[in-house]
C-alpha cells in the first residue's frame, strides 16, 4: 500500500523523465546523419557510431537528463507533505518514520533503475533503422554506473527535501549544491585527485573503465568505484532516515 502511495506521488515526474530520456535517445539515433558532423566537429575524437553515441547519450546529453530526473525524483521527504498539509495523513498511517523514508528511497531507486534501462534498449532496437548497430552489451554495461550514480544524485535532493521546508527551496539547494560539488571535484586539487565526480563515474571515465580514445569498455574492474558510490548513497539515505526520525514535524 505504501509503495503504491509513493508511486502515485512520483509517477508524473517519473513518466515525464522516461519520455524525455526516450525522446533524446530517439532523436539522437534517428537523426544521427544530421548530428554526427556537429558532434565530430566539437569532439575531435569522434570517428564512429559508438563514439557518437557515447558523447550524445551515454556519456553526455542522455546522462545529464537522467541526473536531472534523479534530482527531481529525489524530492520526496516528509517536509514536502508538511508543505502540502498532508503530513497528518501520512504520519497517521500505522507505519514508523524510517519505513516511510526507506520506502520512498527504494521506490526512487527502482525508478532510477528503470530510467537507466531505457537508453540501452532504445538505442539497440532503433539503430538498425538508420543502418547502424550498437551491441546491447555496450549499453547494458552502463547500467550499474547509471543506476548507482543516479541513486547518489537522487540522494542529494532527497536529503535537501528532508532538511528544507520549501518545495522549491529543496530543489534549488539540491541543484546548486550538485553544481558546486561538480565544480569542486573538477577544479580543487585535493578532491580532483580522488574519483569523486559522479558524472564522470556514470560515463565510465573514472578508473579507466572506458578507454578514453576508443570509448569502448576496457574490462577494468570497477567494483571499488561502484561500492564507493553505493556506500555514499546509502549513507545519505541513512542520514535522511535518522533526521526524519528526530524531526519535530
Amino acid at each position: 500500500m505504501l509503495w503504491y502511495k509513493v508511486w502515485r506521488e512520483s509517477s508524473v515526474r517519473f513518466l515525464i523523465s522516461a519520455a524525455s530520456i526516450a525522446g533524446v535517445c530517439l532523436v539522437r539515433v534517428l537523426f544521427e546523419h544530421r548530428f554526427f558532423p556537429d558532434v565530430a566537429h566539437e569532439r575531435p575524437g569522434v570517428h564512429n557510431y559508438i563514439q557518437y553515441l557515447y558523447w550524445t547519450i551515454f556519456g553526455a546529453g542522455g546522462r545529464g537528463l537522467l541526473q536531472l530526473s534523479c534530482l527531481l525524483l529525489g524530492l520526496g521527504g516528509l517536509q514536502r507533505d508538511r508543505k502540502q498539509n498532508t503530513l497528518g495523513f501520512t504520519l497517521a498511517l500505522p507505519i514508523r518514520r524510517p519505513r516511510l523514508v526507506m520506502t520512498r528511497a527504494l521506490v526512487g531507486y527502482l525508478q532510477v533503475f528503470a530510467l537507466s534501462l531505457l537508453p540501452p534498449f532504445i538505442v539497440w532496437t532503433t539503430s538498425p533503422l538508420v543502418h547502424q548497430s550498437m551491441p546491447l552489451s555496450y549499453g547494458l554495461n552502463f547500467l550499474p554506473f547509471w543506476t548507482i550514480g543516479g541513486f547518489a544524485t537522487f540522494s542529494i535532493t532527497f536529503l535537501c527535501s528532508v532538511l528544507f521546508t520549501g518545495e522549491y527551496t529543496a530543489l534549488a539547494v539540491g541543484s546548486v549544491s550538485y553544481f558546486f560539488y561538480i565544480i569542486v571535484c573538477q577544479s580543487v586539487n585535493p578532491f580532483r585527485l580522488y574519483p569523486l565526480h559522479v558524472a564522470e563515474f556514470m560515463g565510465g571515465r573514472l578508473g579507466n573503465v572506458i578507454d578514453a580514445n576508443t570509448l569502448l569498455w576496457t574490462g577494468n574492474s570497477s567494483f571499488t568505484l561502484l561500492a564507493g558510490f553505493t556506500l555514499a548513497a546509502i549513507t545519505i539515505i541513512a542520514a535522511c532516515t535518522f533526521i526524519t526520525t528526530r524531526q519535530d514535524l
Binding site: E9, V12, R13, I16, S17, A19, S20, G23, V24, V27, F31, R34, F35, D38, G61, L65, L68, S69, L72, L75, K83, Q84, N85, G166, E167, Y168, T169, L171, A172, V173, S175, V176, F179, F180, I182, I183, S187, V188, N189, R192
Partner: protein, 245 residues
C-alpha cells in the same frame, strides 16, 4: 501588499540564487590559476571566465534557477491547497499573475547582474582584470534571454498541474529546441538560437578568439526575446482567467 506576498514566496530561491552565483564566480576567480593549469590548451583569464561563468557552470546555475523560479504559480497553489487564500484577496487573477511574473523576472535580473558586480571587483584581488563593460554586456544578454527561460516555465506551470512537471517539460523542450538549432538550414539564422545569444557563441557580436563582446549588441533580437517572454506571461494570465477553480 501582493508584491510583498510574491517576494515572501520566492525570496529563499532568489537569495540562494544570487548567493550561489556570487560564490561560484568568486570560486572561479580565486581558483583561476589552477583551473587554467588544468586546461588542455593555454587559456587566458578572459577565456576562462567566459568558459566557466558564461558558458558552463555559472550559466547552468542561472538557467536551472530561472526555471525553478518560473515553476511556481496559481496551479501549484491549487495542488497544495492554498489557492483559495490567494484568490480570496480582493485582487484580480490578472494582477496576481502579473505581479508574480514581474517579481520573478526581477529575481532573474538580479541573478543576471550578480556576475557583473562580482567579476570586475574580485578580479583585482587575484591580480587580474575583467572589464565591467564586458560583464555588463553579458548580464544584459542573460537578463533578456533569462526572461524566456523564466516566462516559458511560467506558462508551462499554468498549463500542467503535475508536481515539478513544468520544470521537467521546460528543460526537455529547451533541450529539443537546442537540438533543432543544430539543423544546418537553421544555423544560417544564428539569432534564432537563444543559447547562442545568451553567451555570444557563434554570434557576430562575439569574438571567439578573444572571448570578448566586440560588435554592437543584438538589440532587435533582444527586444524580440522580451516580447516573446511577455506573450508567454500573457498566455498564462489568459489561461488562469478562464479556469474554473
Amino acid at each position: 501588499m501582493y508584491w510583498y506576498k510574491s517576494w515572501c514566496e520566492i525570496r529563499t530561491v532568489i537569495l540562494l540564487g544570487i548567493a550561489s552565483i556570487a560564490v561560484a564566480c568568486l570560486f572561479i576567480v580565486f581558483h583561476q590559476q589552477s583551473m587554467r593549469d588544468q586546461a588542455s590548451e593555454p587559456t587566458t583569464y578572459v577565456a576562462l571566465v567566459w568558459k566557466a561563468v558564461y558558458d558552463s557552470f555559472v550559466f547552468d546555475i542561472f538557467f536551472i534557477l530561472s526555471i525553478v523560479l518560473g515553476s511556481d504559480g496559481l496551479l501549484h497553489e491549487k495542488t497544495i491547497g492554498t489557492s483559495g487564500f490567494t484568490l480570496a484577496l480582493p485582487v484580480s487573477r490578472r494582477r496576481i499573475l502579473l505581479t508574480r511574473a514581474f517579481v520573478g523576472y526581477c529575481a532573474v535580473l538580479a541573478m543576471a547582474l550578480t556576475p557583473a558586480i562580482v567579476l570586475p571587483l574580485c578580479s583585482r584581488f587575484s591580480g587580474q582584470h575583467y572589464s565591467a563593460a564586458q560583464a555588463l554586456g553579458f548580464s544584459l544578454l542573460w537578463g533578456c534571454c533569462g526572461s524566456i527561460f523564466y516566462a516559458y516555465t511560467f506558462l508551462l506551470a499554468h498549463l500542467m498541474e503535475g508536481e515539478h512537471s513544468a520544470i521537467l517539460v521546460a528543460i526537455t523542450s529547451l533541450m529539443a529546441y537546442r537540438f533543432l538549432m543544430a539543423i544546418p538550414w537553421l544555423t544560417h539564422v544564428p539569432m534564432l538560437n537563444i543559447f547562442g545569444i545568451v553567451n555570444g557563441e557563434d554570434m557576430p557580436f562575439f569574438n571567439e578568439s578573444t572571448h570578448l563582446l566586440v560588435g554592437p549588441m543584438p538589440w532587435l533580437a533582444l527586444l524580440v526575446v522580451l516580447f516573446i517572454a511577455s506573450v508567454f506571461v500573457f498566455l498564462a494570465v489568459r489561461r488562469m482567467e478562464t479556469m474554473d477553480f
